[in-house]
Each structure stands twice: as C-alpha cells, then as structure tokens.
Symmetry: C2
C-alpha cells in the first residue's frame, strides 16, 4: 500500500488505572497486557503493514524520551510534539499537516497507543481494507462489534453496504452518538446496527485537511501556517506561536460528527480499550479460580480467593476474597471491588483537590 | 503489697499478625492498639501496683535490645534471658528461681506482653486480689469472662466460692480444658461455669518451685542448679549448660493442669489477646461505617467501604469493599476476608516451607 502512514496518538492520560498510571508514566507506557508497554505493542503490531519510517507518533513534549526509548526504530523526525495538550482534533490535524508536507499523496490511519487488540492479523486486514476505501475520499472509521450495552463508548450507526473488501463489509455511516444511557445502549445493541467508536480513523491527508478547512477554518489556518514551516528552522517558533491559539477540542466533535462521506467497517478483532481495571481483568488470562496475577515482579500467595486481579511487584497475599482488584505500587495500594473500578477516577480527583501531587 | 513481683513473659512470636509481626519484630513490639508497643503498655499498666524494680521480663536473648529500649526504667538485672526457646514452663520456672534467689518471700504474677486490657484499674484490682489469695499457697489464675464460644482458648471450670476479695469472687478451680470444639465451647458458655484461660497466674515463688519439684522434678533440678549461680560470675555458664537439657513444654501442660490448690478469679476487664487481625478489629475504634485505619503513617482514601481494617504506612485506597483486613508493609500486602484471619498462619507456614525467610 503506497503512501500509507500510521499516526499514533500517544498523548493520553488514563486516570482510571491509578495507582499504576501516573502523570509521568501514563497507561501507554505500562506493560498492562503483554510484556511490552501498550505503546510498544501498538507499534510492533503494525508490522509488516507499516515500515518504521511510515509510523508517526504525536504526543506531548514531556513524553518524547519515553516514546523514543520504547520505539527506537522510528525516525526522530516522525515524533510530532504538541507544545501543550489541545485534545485530539489539533493533534490529528498537525499530524496530517506534517505528513502531507512530506508526502502529499499520504493516506493516514489515526490509531491509538493504549488499546489492546488480540487478533493482530485481523487488525491489519481491517487497516488494509480501510486504505482501499479511503482512496475515494471517504473517511473510514473502524467500528468495534459491541458485546455488551456499554455506556462508556460512543456509537456509530451503519447504513447501506457500500462494498465488500478483504472479507469485510464497508458501510455508509449514519453518524455518531455520544456515550448513551443504559436504555439507549441496550437498544443500540439489540438493533445490530451500531458499532463502538474505537477512535481509529483512516483518511487521505487531502481529505483530512479539506474537512478541517470546511468545519474548523480557524484551526485549519493555524495548522497550515505551521505546515509551511515543517522541516525548516522556523518550525519550533511557528508551532509555538500558532498552537496556543488553537481551541481544545476532540476530533469526534470537531470533525467526525459532521463529516461528509463517512464509512464504517464493523470489526471484531478482539479490541479492548483497557479503560479500567475491570476491563484489564477481562483481557488477561485467568487461572481456574478466575484469579489473575500480573506486574513487573509479582509474587502472590492465595488461599481460597476467586475472580481477583492482583497487580504489583511485591508479595501480595489474598485470603478468602472475591471480585477484587488489588494494585500495589511503591507508594500506594488500591483495593477495589471489581464492579466499582470506574470510581478509581474519583480517587484521582480527590488527590488533585487535596493537592497530593506526589500520588498523581 | 509486700514482695509482689510481675514476671512478664515476652518471648512469644505471633504469626497470625503477619505481615506486620515478624521474627525480629513480633507482636509484643508493635503499637497495635495504643500508641506504644504492646510490651510497653504491658509495663505501664502495672503502675502503681509494681515499681520498676519489681517488674521482671523473661524473653529470648535476641529481644533484649528491643525490650530495654521499650522499658528503660526496668533494671537490667530484671531481664531474664532464655538461651533458646523452651516454651512457657521453663521460662516461668527460671523467672521464679531468679526472683526467689533475690527475695525468697516473693509472690509472682505471671503476665503476658502482647494482650490488650481496656479496664486497667480493674486489671490491677484483680492482681491485688490474686496476691491476697496466693499468700495461702494457692495458685491463682485470672479467668476471662467469655463473650462467645471461642475454640481458640483453653477453658477453666470454677467450683465452690472460696472468698470474696475486693469485690471479686474467688473460686476453687475444677480444672483446665484444652481448646474445645465448637459444640463443647457452646456448652461451656451456656453453663456459666467456665472462664477462658488468660495465661495469667499468680503464685508465691515457694508454691511455684514446690509444684515444679512435684510435677517436673528433672526440670526443677536444672532450674535449682541455675538458681544457685544467679548473681554470680558462673551464671551464664550454668544457665547455658542446664537450659539445653530442659524439655520444651507449656506451663499449662507441665504444671497447671495437675496443680494442687488451684483457684480461679473470673474477671471482665476488657481483655483481648489480639490473636488475629479480626481480634484487633474488635478492639479498635471504628468510624460510623465500621472502618478502621491504623498504622505508623496511615493515609487512606475510601469510597463506600464498610467494616474494614486498614493497617499501613502508605496510601491505601479502598473502593466498595466490605469485611476486609488490609495490611501493607514495606515488602508485602495482605488482603484477607475478616472471617478468614485465622488462615494468616497458613501463609506463614507456606513461606517457611518455601524458605522465604525474608518475609518471616
């Protein structure tokens, strides 16, 4: 696939995996599922579809060292650094602008750095399919087949079948719905017409910049000014000067919700956003009692526990407990009922309010 | 009370409070209930009944430094060191021999170093009462009023009322029963005739040594040989040579079960052996949700938990959990259902089998 680029959005935080995920080592740098970090796995699963020079990474400046350490094969020029966090729309626009400056015929897959995918060949097949579909100027989204009425994801409704490519149906998208309530989520699931929004989009750089021009003209102008300086000595200065003027806004809200010619490819390649400790529990291999032990140097003794996830690097002993998440780090221990793992972010909020930055 | 001495047995281990209680810092050195260590509290609650020169401590040599640090007011000569652990009968005999050598008219209260007592004046009143009763050559035991059919304690059955002293009834003892099964424990409780064996005995040194001579003549001979050397330069040598020849045996089994002229004073001074994390939970003050946070530098954030005990010195976060014991130390974390806290000793056994001495 000629001129095909991956743009990995690696700037996220992930407070719901506290106390492991912290400001300096957010979720994408943690080896949560496989032996490598989520970011490293996000890179390696792209081979052989993308050679390292075709992989771009966009993230905050403060993560550059960690990113380069985890992906030394990627050229330094492919790390696109945000001077400050501006949410996903400016990050994707900057990525498209930098790549298009170097290769105007680029097709770009916007991908995530902190999601788990178990069927990697299936994932690459979907990316290859999306590439073909995107050549006509279509914006392609990968829609995850829902297996429960989740209220934590956006949903995409599919319309008529456009094409069948590589064994995958490509459908016209009938639009996005933000995170629904439980009732609506159940209706979506029952209808069979909806997919979860994975945050993975495939478009040509030309289409991308055209949509920004149409829907976000001010942002587009700033990005074009920065683009003119890419690979020149004035780039840092132009980036800094224009970036601060750009609004904080998500790509869904800024572009995708009102984009023209959207398509969705419903996929089922074992995607999991690992968006909570409970989600991580669902991804990892359990022993016959449903227990999972994970971490850098985990040591565990258990007597009669069931359905627990223990994450740590010291000796953790569990006796007669059920449905618990236990996370031990150097300075903190979390003990959370599995059904309450969404509340971990409330703890992070409390720590912020109490200005206990040493724990954040 | 003339010639009244306290002999504190401070050599115990306490594996059921792992991971806090360890080989080098067993239970008696931990500030489990009050701000001071259990041992320190055991000393201070004796005042004003016993001046420091009347308090003796018997323990293994390896604990001497910690004991003296916790009780600097006690004369060095009052620390009686066991060359090796021989259980409670030899320890009590050695204590009686040393004290009797210095004061043949001594009356000795054998006391524990790691039990909690909430009503300290009540405790001292019972000790004063026992002193009077012991003058006639009676062996007096303090029997704890049982509040549930515990299977973890020995029981003492009381017979006829002998005397009423200081408002306490003193009864003839009808003998000891080792830890009963649940059925028998329930019968004992229902009968109203039984007390728990607290391990606290009061006797004159003369009575003590006479009982050893009658029931344990070999041990008695060794102890008398050691006694002859007390406060002479040959003491260390005589102690070492004779101590190794003495059998390991508990005072209950060696002396008390078949002693003559036993009396029991049923007492109710808020005694708790703190023999498990669940027992400790029962002693400490709870917040309205039944939660307890304790430790040297405890920091805790909780969302919706109930009936938990968190012991630690780092940040411990609990979310939506119930009836849990959480103990965090530098190298280990225990998460145990409250009803299973007896099983902590199984963990210690596993660690011993696996030769993980760093955790013991």
């Amino acid at each position: 696939m000629e001129h095909y680029y991956a743009l990995i959005m690696a700037g996220g935080g992930g407070t719901r995996l506290w106390p492991l995920s912290r400001g300096t080592t957010p979720k994408q740098f943690l080896p949560l599922v496989e032996d490598d970090s989520m970011f490293r796995v996000s890179i390696t699963r792209l081979a052989p579809l993308f050679t390292p020079d075709r992989i771009y990474v966009v993230a905050g400046e403060r993560y550059l060292e960690a990113l380069r350490k985890d992906a030394p094969e990627i050229p330094e020029a492919n790390f696109i650094l945000e001077p400050s966090a501006r949410d996903s729309a400016p990050a994707a626009a900057l990525g498209a602008a930098v790549i298009a400056k170097r290769d105007p015929k680029a097709t770009i897959a916007i991908l995530t750095a902190d999601h788990h995918i178990s069927d990697k060949p299936g994932f690459r097949n979907a990316l290859a399919t999306a590439y073909e579909l995107a050549q006509s100027g279509t914006i392609v989204t990968l829609g995850i087949k829902p297996d429960h009425p989740a209220t934590g994801f956006g949903y995409i409704r599919r319309g008529e079948l456009l094409q069948q490519i590589n064994g995958l149906g490509c459908y016209k998208s009938l639009g996005f719905t933000e995170k629904p309530d439980k009732n609506r989520a159940e209706q979506f699931l029952a209808s069979g017409e909806y997919s979860w929004n994975s945050g993975m989009f495939i478009w040509t750089a030309e289409t991308a910049l055209r949509e920004y021009a149409r829907q976000q003209p001010t942002m587009h102008d700033h990005i074009r000014t920065i683009q003119a300086a890419v690979d020149t000595t004035t780039y840092p200065q132009m980036l800094a000067a224009n970036w601060e003027k750009i609004d904080k806004i998500s790509i869904d809200y800024a572009v995708m919700e009102h984009a023209e010619r959207m398509a969705v490819i419903p996929v089922d390649f074992g995607w999991n956003d690992v968006g909570s400790w409970e989600a991580l529990y669902g991804v990892l291999a359990q022993d016959p009692q449903g227990n999972i032990t994970k971490g850098s140097l985990p040591q565990r003794i258990d007597i009669d526990s069931r359905n627990t996830l223990v994450f740590g690097d010291k000796l953790v002993v569990t006796i007669g407990v059920e449905d618990l998440i236990v996370v031990q780090t150097d300075d903190a221990v979390l003990i959370c009922h599995k059904s309450r793992s969404q509340d971990v972010k409330k703890v992070v909020e409390q720590l912020k309010e109490q200005r206990k930055s040493e724990y954040l």
